[in-house]
């Protein structure tokens, strides 16, 4: 056997070790991104999640101006942190709809009483079906939907105050 061939296993092992080391230093991105960005919102109809706030359906998202669709839940801790930011966006004139994932009317009412209600409409997604049909994988998650009902941007995780300019920019671009 030639010398080069005998070195092959060693080279292979070093190569594998380098690959391991690289992934340890640079962990892979575990954020799940929806493939429906730039596509129309899939049809859905959700009943009202709490008394006094109307439900949400896909057809009514095409209002002619961009809006946010926020997946949240009263059992979701980061959603509490996100609530004041949504409130601030609402004050700046951003239209926000909510989809409450796996939640009870009592839970949502208590959540809104404590954290304020930035939502114009809230749909109840009791078995995550709408969440799955939009390619979302957790709460909170926020979609920018343009005036024609096309998803233009997905924000994964809670919107922090430092993310507000990015969200505003995406809303502007969706006009």
């Amino acid at each position: 056997m030639s010398r080069a061939l005998r070195l092959l296993p060693i080279i292979l092992i070093i190569w594998i070790l380098i690959a391991f080391a690289w992934r340890l230093v640079q962990p892979s991105d575990s954020v799940v991104r929806s493939h429906l960005v730039n596509r129309e919102v899939p049809p859905f109809t959700l009943p009202s999640a709490v008394a006094g706030v109307p439900g949400l359906d896909s057809a009514s998202l095409a209002t002619g101006e961009p809006r946010l669709v926020n997946f949240f839940a009263s059992w979701c801790v980061p959603c509490v942190a996100e609530a004041p930011i949504l409130e601030r966006l609402k004050k700046q004139g951003v239209k926000i709809d909510g989809i409450a994932v796996r939640d009870t009317p009592g839970g949502i009412t208590a959540f809104l009483d404590r954290n304020g209600n930035p939502y114009e409409r809230i749909g109840a997604d009791r078995s995550s079906r709408v969440q799955l049909s939009l390619g979302s994988s957790g709460v909170p998650e926020t979609f920018v939907v343009d005036g024609k009902g096309v998803i233009r941007f997905q924000f994964v995780g809670p919107i922090g105050s430092s993310d507000v300019p990015e969200v505003m920019k995406q809303l502007e671009e969706a006009k």
Partner: protein
Amino acid sequence: MRALVLSIALALGAPASADSNLPPSYWAYRQLPDPKQEAKAQALMQELRCLVCQGQSIADSDADLAADMRDLVRRRIAAGENPEQIRAWLIERYGDWISYRPTTEPIALPLWAAPIILLIFGGAIVAGRLKRKRS
């Protein structure tokens, strides 16, 4: 004393839970009455990735979202949809990543070619050895 009170409080305090407010969806932990349909659903669920515990299949995961995905799979199969349609529906939303079954897209080509290449390589080594023995 203070340490004791604190440790008792810690032991009694319920951890902040990330579980949802609702009981599992109907088909999440229930088998379909038709064994043939259940077998189809099981086979598909073994090959779908959990969005929460990435690396587990939805058949193995106890996450709420995995339970809801099992509910979705069983509901659709009970409604007469075939498993490949459901897989395609999920791939449309989450990409090939959601399915554990390797795709036939060009990106998976090395994977499909590997056994053939290894077989040729092994064959060459065996052929070399046999030749040397004879001479």
